[in-house]
């Protein structure tokens, strides 16, 4: 009986020490899981913005601002005069983006996401790019 009581304290101390790595592992795993969920949310947001920009660009080059003649639409033949601030603002409101840029000129400001589409402009059908940026 006396010997058992001598070891009792050591066992408790040993158990106490073993909780330290367990706690460290738990803390690390919780950190990783938090990072994973944050990354997933961020990636999902970036994907949403990217998809919206791709849709806006596709709509613009296929219907929104294309050349029309004789009741026909000419996809990828851009009528740059149709890309007015009102047109851009209308699309921005419909997509729910906080900022939207649509132009054949490269944007001066920085945008979180940008896509471009290949188009022709003018009567000489000059090859140029349509930039659609936003966030």
């Amino acid at each position: 009986m006396r010997i058992q009581s001598l070891y009792k304290g050591s066992i408790s101390f040993d158990a106490l020490l073993s909780t330290i790595p367990i706690m460290m592992m738990l803390f690390f795993l919780l950190n990783i899981s938090s990072t994973i969920s944050q990354d997933a949310a961020e990636t999902m947001h970036r994907q949403h913005v990217f998809d919206k920009l791709v849709s806006v660009a596709d709509y613009t080059v296929k219907a929104g601002a294309v050349k029309r003649a004789g009741g026909m639409r000419y996809p990828n033949w851009l009528e740059t005069g149709l890309i007015t601030p009102a047109y851009v603002e209308g699309l921005r409101l419909r997509t729910g983006l906080s900022r939207l840029y649509i132009s054949t000129l490269e944007p001066d400001e920085d945008y979180p996401s940008c896509v471009y589409r290949l188009v022709v402009t003018g009567d000489d059908k000059r090859i140029s790019r349509l930039f659609v940026c936003g966030g």
Binding site: M25, A57, I127
Partner: protein, 121 residues
């Protein structure tokens, strides 16, 4: 024995952590597969609008090559037309990575010919 157990636990922990961190790296990628196909369609459509495939044949290859060069200048994308052996990224033994491919039919020297129209870098 205890050292061995500790080592096994540590290795398992490192493996699990690497796997979880690798998972997050994979998730960061934005899927742009549809956009790449749209870009390839754009390149095709632009060439079509500029009349590059009208009376297309050996005599018009130079004109199409010029158009392909213009597209490359504008976008830094290589355009490959497999079937008529044309590309904007000529010469050298560089390896190119295709990002999107489309199957199209063109009239080459009056004969319908299936071509694979691709963009890459």
């Amino acid at each position: 024995m205890q050292t061995f157990e500790a080592l096994v636990s540590f290795l398992f922990f490192v493996f699990l952590s690497s796997y979880l961190l690798g998972l997050t790296e994979e998730q960061r990628h934005v899927d742009d597969s549809l956009y790449r196909i749209q870009l390839a369609e754009d390149a095709w459509r632009v060439l079509y609008l500029r009349g590059s495939f009208e009376d297309f044949g050996p005599n018009k290859r130079a004109q199409l090559e010029e158009e392909l060069d213009t597209i490359e200048e504008e976008t830094a994308l290589c355009v490959f037309i497999d079937g008529v052996f044309m590309t904007s990224c000529r010469g050298g033994s560089q390896e190119h990575q295709l990002t999107a491919s489309l199957r199209k039919t063109v009239l080459y020297d009056g004969e319908p010919r299936n071509v694979t129209f691709s963009i890459g870098s």
